[in-house]
C-alpha cells in the first residue's frame, strides 16, 4: 500500500513529507527530479516512475507534484485516485491548493493525511467525515485564533459517520432553510479540422449537487430523456439497481457539495457544435512574416447566447510579435510564452467578431513547420447542449418542503480547432 507521500514544488523543493509506514529518505525524489529534467514541461513527467527499490506514482496539480512512494504491487489507479482526492481535500479545506496554503495550514494537513490513510489503507476520504473530525480553517476562526492565541482545529467530536452504514452522511444534520440545488454542467470536447469539419466530438457532463437538507432525506431525481445517458458513473450514494430498472437516480445525499454523477455522450450526431470558426494562419516563405485572420460566429445555440468566448493560440517559437486588430473584444500576445489570447465576450448574431493582422517572425529563422492550434473557451447559460433535462425531484423520509432548483450550463472543454 502507500508508503509515503512527498509534496514537491515545481522548483524541486520538497516542502512536506508524510510516512505511513517506516520512513523513506526523501532522496527517493531524485528520480522524480531526473524525470522532470528530461521532460519538456512539468505536465509531461510520467506518472509512474520505477526506482531500484520503490515506485513513485505522482500527479501534477496546481503546480505541485503529489508523489506517493510504494514498495509492493499496488494498483496505480488506486494511488492516483487517492492523490487527486488529497488535492481535492486541500482545495476544499483551504480554498486553494498551493504551496503557500499548505504551509499555512501544515498541522491540519498533517492531521488530514493521518485520517485519510491508515498504514497505507484509505480510511476516511469523504469530505463530510473529515470535516466532522478536523474543522476547516475559517476566516472567523483564524481571527479568533489571533486574538485568543490559537484554539483547536480538531473537532471535539468523533467521526460518528464512520459507524453508520451510510458513511457519506452525517447524522443529525439540521438546517433552517432546506434546499437542494443541482447544476448540470456539460463540457464539449471537440477537435475540428482546418475546414471546420468535426473530427471528434463528445460531451462530458456532470451533475453537481449542493444539498442542505435536515435529517435523512431520501431523494429521487428523474430525467425527461434518460435515454441519452448510456455511459454514466455515480457517486456511491446512488442506488444502481433503481437506475438499471427505472432510469431514476435514487439516493440519500451526502451533506453539502458533491458530484452526484458524471456522464459521457459521444454519439457524434448528438453533439451540437455551438460555434463556427473560420481561420487562416499562414507564414510566408520570405520576409519573416505571417498573416492571421480568425472569425467566430454562433451556430446551433438553441436560441441561447454564447458568452465568455476566449480564443487562445499557442504560436510557434519564431513568432516574435503580432499586430492585430479586432472588431470586438481585446487581443493580447505574450511574446515570452508565445500565447495569443483573444477575449471576445458575448457572441452577437448581428456582428461577427473578427481578428486579423500580421505576425512578425524572427528574421532569418526558417518558416515554422507546425501549425498552431486554436483553443476555444465559451459558456452558454441555461442550456445543456446534449439536451438532457431534469424532470423532477422528489423527497421521501422527511416532512418539510425543501427549495429545489436546477441550473444548466454548457462550457467548452478541450475544444480545439486545427489550422
Amino acid at each position: 500500500m502507500i508508503h509515503s507521500l512527498f509534496l514537491v514544488s515545481t522548483a524541486g523543493h520538497i516542502f512536506l513529507e508524510k510516512h505511513w509506514k517506516s520512513v523513506i529518505s526523501r532522496s527517493v525524489c531524485d528520480y522524480l527530479f531526473e524525470a522532470q529534467g528530461k521532460a519538456s514541461a512539468p505536465e509531461n513527467v510520467p506518472p509512474v516512475i520505477a526506482t531500484p527499490h520503490h515506485y513513485l506514482i505522482s500527479v501534477y496539480r496546481d503546480r505541485i507534484f503529489f508523489v506517493a512512494v510504494i514498495q509492493t504491487e499496488v494498483p496505480p489507479l488506486f494511488v492516483i485516485e487517492f492523490l487527486h482526492r488529497v488535492a481535492e481535500t486541500f482545495q476544499d479545506y483551504f480554498g486553494e491548493c498551493s504551496e503557500a496554503s499548505i504551509k499555512d495550514n501544515v498541522v491540519i494537513v498533517y492531521e488530514l493525511l493521518e485520517e485519510m490513510l491508515d498504514n497505507g489503507f484509505p480510511l476516511a476520504t469523504e469530505a463530510n467525515i473529515l470535516k466532522e473530525m478536523i474543522k476547516p480553517p475559517t476566516i472567523l476562526r483564524s481571527v479568533v485564533n489571533t486574538i485568543t492565541g490559537g484554539s483547536s482545529n480538531v473537532g471535539g467530536t468523533l467521526p460518528t459517520g464512520q459507524l453508520s452504514n451510510i458513511p457519506w452522511r452525517r447524522t443529525g444534520v439540521k438546517y433552517t432553510n432546506n434546499e437542494a440545488y443541482f447544476d448540470v454542467v456539460e463540457e464539449i470536447d471537440a477537435i475540428l479540422d482546418k475546414s471546420g469539419t468535426v473530427v471528434f466530438a463528445e460531451i462530458q457532463g456532470v451533475i453537481d449537487a449542493c444539498v442542505k437538507l435536515s435529517g435523512m432525506p431520501d431523494l429521487t431525481l428523474s430525467f425527461v430523456n434518460p435515454r441519452l445517458l448510456d455511459d454514466v458513473s455515480f457517486h456511491p450514494c446512488v442506488r444502481f439497481k433503481r437506475w438499471e430498472a427505472e432510469r431514476v437516480l435514487s439516493f440519500i445525499p451526502p451533506d453539502g457539495n458533491f458530484r452526484l454523477m458524471s456522464y459521457h455522450v459521444n454519439a457524434q450526431n448528438l453533439v451540437a457544435i455551438p460555434v463556427y470558426v473560420k481561420q487562416n494562419v499562414s507564414f510566408f516563405e520570405t520576409g519573416s512574416s505571417g498573416r492571421l485572420d480568425i472569425t467566430v460566429g454562433p451556430k446551433q445555440t438553441m436560441g441561447k447566447t454564447i458568452e465568455d468566448v476566449v480564443i487562445t493560440v499557442h504560436m510557434p517559437k519564431v513568432v516574435l510579435n503580432a499586430n492585430l486588430t479586432t472588431n470586438q473584444g481585446t487581443s493580447t500576445y505574450d511574446p515570452v510564452t508565445k500565447v495569443l489570447v483573444w477575449d471576445i465576450g458575448k457572441l452577437n448574431q448581428q456582428k461577427v467578431p473578427n481578428l486579423k493582422g500580421s505576425l512578425s517572425l524572427q528574421s532569418g529563422a526558417p518558416r515554422p513547420d507546425e501549425n498552431p492550434t486554436l483553443n476555444i473557451d465559451l459558456r452558454i447559460q441555461q442550456l445543456a447542449i446534449s439536451g438532457l433535462k431534469v424532470n423532477r425531484l422528489n423527497m421521501f423520509g422527511e416532512k418539510y418542503k425543501p427549495f429545489k432548483g436546477v441550473k444548466y450550463v454548457t462550457k467548452a472543454g478541450k475544444f480545439q480547432v486545427r489550422t
Binding site: M1, H19, W20, V23, R26, A39, E43, N44, P47, V48, H53, S58, V59, Q71, T72, E73, V74, P75, P76, L77, F78, I80, E81, N105, V106, V109, Y110, E111, E114, N119, F121, N145, G149, N153, V154, G156, L158, Q162, L163, P167, D189, I191, V199, F200, D230, S233, F234, P236, F240, E244, H264, N266, H314, P316, D369, E370, N375, K414, Q416, R418
Partner: protein, 957 residues
Amino acid sequence: MTDSKYFTTTKKGEIFELKAELNSDKKEKKKEAVKKVIASMTVGKDVSALFPDVVNCMQTDNLELKKLVYLYLMNYAKSQPDMAIMAVNTFVKDCEDPNPLIRALAVRTMGCIRVDKITEYLCEPLRKCLKDEDPYVRKTAAVCVAKLHDINAQLVEDQGFLDTLKDLISDSNPMVVANAVAALSEIAESHPNSNLLDLNPQTINKLLTALNECTEWGQIFILDCLANYTPRDDRESQSICERVTPRLSHANSAVVLSAVKVLMKFMEMLPKDLDYYGTLLKKLAPPLVTLLSAEPELQYVALRNINLIVQKRPEILKHEMKVFFVKYNDPIYVKLEKLDIMIRLASQANIAQVLAELKEYATEVDVDFVRKAVRAIGRCAIKVEQSAERCVSTLLDLIQTKVNYVVQEAIVVIKDIFRKYPNKYESVIATLCENLDSLDEPEARAAMIWIVGEYAERIDNADELLESFLEGFHDESTQVQLQLLTAIVKLFLKKPTETQELVQQVLSLATQDSDNPDLRDRGYIYWRLLSTDPVAAKEVVLAEKPLISEETDLIEPTLLDELICHIGSLASVYHKPPSAFVEGSRGVQHKRLPPRSGSGESTESPEGAHSGGAAIPEAVPAVIPSQGDLLGDLLNLDLGPPTTGVAPAPTSAMQMGAMDLLGGGLDSLMGDDSEPLGGDIGGSPAIGAGFGGTPAVMPASLNAPVGGGLGDLFDLGGGVGTTTSAYVAPKTVWLLAMKAKGLEIAGTFSRRGGVIHMELSLTNKAMSVMTDFAIQFNRNSFGLAPAGPLQVLTPLSPNQTTEVSLPLSTVGPVMKMEPLNNLQVAVKNNIDVFYFSCLYPISILFVEDGKMERQVFLATWKDIPNENEAQFHIKDCHLNSDAASSKLQSSNIFTIAKRTVDNQDMLYQSIKLTNGIWVLAELRLQAGNSNYTLSLKCRAPEVSQCVLQCYETVLKN
C-alpha cells in the same frame, strides 16, 4: 495567524523554548507547543529530543492534543524505544474506552509504532479489538494485523491472528470484510505459498455481497481479491460477472478498472455463443472510454491497460477509434500511448480517418511524437493492405517537407513497407535517394543502404551511392557497417562486372581494418562464399526473404494472458509479469486465465495432459510444430539484413524460443538419430517448468517422430494433385414465374479463370415478349457487383429460355448480410422490377493466389487469437488425403503442408478471400474413418461457417 509561523527559521534556543512550553501548566500553551513540534517534524527538523516532554502530554482528555501526541509518537517512537514504553499504559487504557472511536484510534496508533517492545503489549488489546462488538473497531483492528505482520510476522502467526482475520471475511459488516481482505492480500503478498485467501463459493458469495455496500477503496480490494478466484464452471463465472458489472459505473476509476479485470478474466470461461457473452462485451466499452476523460495520469494508466485489452479482445473497442485521437495539449506520455492504440485499432474501415490524423500529428512540435506518428503511418501500411498505397504517398509528402527527423523516420518505415509488399512501390526509390545526404541517424542510414543494396539493379548509380558511404566506413556505427557490407555484396552479385573493386574494398575494410567480431565474421563468410562458389553465394545472399508479419510489437500470448490477470496493477503499466520487477515477491505464482469450458477446443488441448487444473486455453492447438518456425528461419535466414529491426517471426519468440531450440531445432539439425534426446528435452514438463514456469505450450509434434514430421512439412506441395475443374453447383430456381409476372430465373455461381460468374437461365413464361433486361445487387458482405450489364441481346419471346453468364466484380459497396453469403438481387425488364435473394457459395470468393508461404502460415496461425478458431466435423467423406487436397485445390483451397501422425493425416490449408481475408485451415482425416475434423482460424471468424459449407460441398461432390 497561520501555521506558517511554525516554519520560521530555527533559532538556537528553540528546542529549549519548546521544552519549557511543553511543561507549562496552561493547557493552551501546551497544545500550541505540541503543534509547533509537529510542524517542525513535518518539515524534517529533528525534534526527537523532546520525546519525554511530549509523551507527558499524552494523558489528557483533550482529543486534539491526544491525536497530536499520537502523531508525534508514530514518528519518533522508533528512535526512542525505551521511552516509548512509557506510552504503552495509556494505549492499553484507551483500548478499553467506552467510546468505540477512541478504542479504534488507540489500536490504530499502537500498530503504527514500530517498536518490538511495544508490539508485545499490543497483542492482547488487538485480540480484543478484533472481536469488538463495534464494526468500526473491528475494521481498524483488521488493518492493524497487517501492520503487526509487517513488523513481526512470526508473532502474528503464533498468536493466531491470521485465523481471526480469515474469520472476519465472513463478518456481517461489509467494511470489516473489505479491510480483512485488504489486510490478508497484503500479508499474502509476502507469503506467496501460504493459502491465506482460501476462496470457495461461500466466501466468494460473501465478498460479492460486501462489494455492494463497502467504500470505494474496499471495493478495489475485494475486486482484486475476486480476480484471483477460478470459478468452477461457466455458470458460476457468469453469475459473478453479473454481480460485478454494476461496478463499471463507479465514479472511482480504480474500481472500474479492477472490475474490468475481473470481467476480462472470467469472460474467458463463458462460451462465446452465449448471449450474455456479447452483452458483456458491449458493456465493457463505455467505462473504458470514460476513463479517458479523466485526469492525464489516470488516462495514462488506463491507456496502458487498454493497450492490453485491445490486443486480447479487439472487438470491445473497435468502434471507439475517435476517443484515442490526440489533443495538442495532452501530455506527451498520453499522446504516445494513444498513438499506439490507434494503430492497434486501425482497420480497413477506419484507415482513412487514422491516416488523416497521423498526417496531422506529423506536423506537431514534439519531436518524439512526430517520429512515432511517422512510424505509425508505416505500421498502418503494413497492417492494412488496402491502405498501403495511400500510406506511401503520405510518407512521400512528408519526405517533401524536408524536415530532417521526419525524412529519416519515413525512410526507416518505407524499408519495412518494401519488405511487406515487394515489387510494388519501388518507384519511390528515386525520391528517397534524393535525401541521402540529410540522413545522419544510424537507423535511417542503415535502412537507406539496405534499400540501395536490395534494389541495386534498379538504381543506376547504386555503386556511386554505396561508395560514398564507404568513405567514412570506420566512423559509422556497427549497424550501418554491417548493412553496408551486405549491400555491397548484393550489388556485386547483381552487377559483378563494374563493382569488383568496391566489393574487395569493403571486404578488406570489414575483415582487416575492423575489430568488431560481428563485422569480421560476416566479412569472412561473404569472402569465402564469393571465392568458393558464387552461385551458392547468390542463393544465400539474394535469397527471397520471408514477408514481415503484420504487427510487429504484439505481446506474446502467454504473457498477454498473464497480464490480463493483472489489469490495473503495476505489471499492466510496465507490460511485464510481476515476477520480473516487484521486489520481494518470492516465487510469485503466475496467474492464468481460466480455461473456457464447454467449447470444442478443449478436447484436443495438449495442455490437459500435464498441467492439471491450470491449463491455458491458449495452447497452440496441437498442430503447428514450432520448430518449423525456427528451422524455416534458419533456412531462409538472409544473412544480409539482421538490422532491419523486424525479425521474421517476432511475436512468439520469448521463452518458447529457447525451448524450441533445445527441442525441435537441435533435433532436426542432428537428424533422426538424436530424436530420443530432443524428444526428452523438449517433452519433459520438468524442463518446461524450469523455463520460468510457463507450462510449456508443447508443440504437439514433439510427441510424434520429429524428424519425420519435419520432412513431411517441407517436401510437399509438389504432390498436390493437378487441377481439376472447380465444383459448380447445379442451378436452382431463384425467382418463380408466378411471383415475377412470368419471368423465371434459375442460376448458380461459378469461378472461372479468376473471375466470378453468375450463371443465369432466364425463362419467359408469360404471354408477351420481354426486353430491356437489367440487373442490380444490393450491398452485400463482400461487395459483389455486376462487372457489366446483363447481356440479353434478343428480346425473350414467350416460352423461350436464354442462358446468360454475368461476370461479377468484388468492388461494389459492402454491407454485412445475414447470413454472410446472402445476395439480394433486383432484375428489371420492360414489365417490372423483381427482387429475389440467393445464397452464393463462398468458394467463388477464394482467389487463385491464396497459397500462403509456409513460414507466413505458421506465423499467422500463431498470430490469430485462439478464440477465433472454430472446429467442425465433416461426416461421411470417403476421400483419402491426396484426393481431398486436389479436390479442394480446384476450388482454390490450397494445401500448404501435410503431416502424418498416428495414421492421421493433417492437411494445412490456406484460403484467401477477394477482400484479402485469409482463412487458415487444418483438416484431419483418418484412414478408415469417414469423419473429418476441420479447424478454421481466421481474423474474421464470421466466415468460418460459410467456409465449412464450402468444404462440405466440395468434398462431397
